[in-house]
């Protein structure tokens, strides 16, 4: 394996094929570190998924998933988040080319789609609560609100982060530190969509299939 060979057998300054001696570029290291953080975040979501799976049948005589979930809403939410992931990718391309307009445009569309997702989700929660399907009603609902709410909270924080990043681009331009942070943001945003794939499959689709 590449890493093992590099660390164990070959002294740093004698690396024949390395394009540069010494540690990897900051960009690579930062991305790796943030990736490890994202994986830990996904482990946390896994615990919430596991809790949901255990409690999904504990409806305590209250409403079940079949009675509460609207697949059309979920489909639109999924589309919003998926396309926002795509536009985030396009934004990354613009950042790499130091294309300011492209970056702002990509960020704007990504934000709009993320905000649309959140609006739909909040409306869904409000609707459920109005119908008496509160988090306190049953273990199933507690698990549902915790899992889906936690994901929604991540999306909210992501949107705030995106706004902050656009301010940084406006003020500082495409300096190396800003580019690294934008790289971390896109990793975060894509990871959120990956978690959502799990959410809509396990919670909504498995919840309503006959």
């Amino acid at each position: 394996m590449n890493i093992a060979v590099a660390i164990d057998t070959v002294p740093q300054d004698a690396l024949p094929s390395a394009s540069e001696a010494g540690p990897a570029p900051k960009r690579i290291v930062v991305a790796y570190g943030f990736w490890i953080f994202l994986l830990s975040d996904i482990v946390m979501f896994a615990a919430l998924f596991a809790s949901y799976a255990v409690l999904v049948r504990s409806t305590a005589g209250g409403p079940t998933g079949v009675q509460l979930f609207n697949q059309t809403t979920v489909a639109i939410e999924t589309a919003c988040l998926l396309v926002s992931s795509y536009t985030c990718g396009l934004m990354s391309l613009a950042i790499n080319s130091r294309n300011r307009l492209g970056t702002y445009l990509g960020a704007l569309v990504t934000f709009a789609l993320g905000a649309a997702f959140l609006t739909l989700e909040l409306r869904e929660f409000a609707d459920m609560i109005a119908r008496g399907a509160t988090p306190q009603r049953s273990a199933f609902l507690s698990a549902f609100f915790t899992l889906v709410g936690c994901h929604g909270l991540h999306v909210t924080l992501g949107l705030i982060w995106l706004v902050v990043m656009m301010v940084q681009v406006a003020v500082m331009g495409f300096v190396a530190s800003v580019q690294r942070r934008l790289l971390c943001f896109s990793l975060f945003w894509h990871a959120l969509d990956i978690v959502w794939v799990g959410v809509f499959t396990v919670v909504y689709l498995m919840g309503v299939s006959p």
Binding site: A31, Y32, W35, A50, T78, L82, G89, I194, V208, S209
Partner: protein, 114 residues
């Protein structure tokens, strides 16, 4: 930015297209009567994992290339942890549930639940 093989724009676009396809298939799978119901659960799980893979490769650029070795290894460890957490939780909770299910009001039998 090297222009070898597909352009980066194309990579993202292909990823989106395949992800949309998998999502649509998932929704169809959950709602159709054409499939044997016992297989729907597994089908949805497979489609979800496939779509996560598409996201990882096309959006997050976690490939089998030498640049992503560290990231791929970290991912493998993450997946292992997720598997242990989810499978372990479900196994333990199912086992505990089973241990709680004593027939109430039935004549005391000498059968031991294991």
């Amino acid at each position: 930015m090297d222009a070898s093989a597909p352009s980066e724009f194309l990579v993202y676009t292909i990823g989106l297209f395949v992800a949309v396809l998998l999502t649509a298939t998932s929704f169809w799978t959950a709602n159709t009567t054409l499939l044997w119901p016992g297989g729907v659960f597994l089908g949805l799980a497979v489609l979800a994992i496939a779509q996560m893979g598409i996201h990882l490769v096309f959006f997050l650029h976690i490939t089998s290339g030498p640049e992503s070795t560290n990231n791929a290894l970290a991912l493998a460890f993450g997946v292992l942890t997720v598997f242990v957490v989810v499978a372990g939780t479900m196994w333990i909770m199912a086992d505990m549930n089973e241990s709680m299910m004593m027939p109430s009001g039935a004549p005391m039998s000498m059968r031991m639940q294991h």
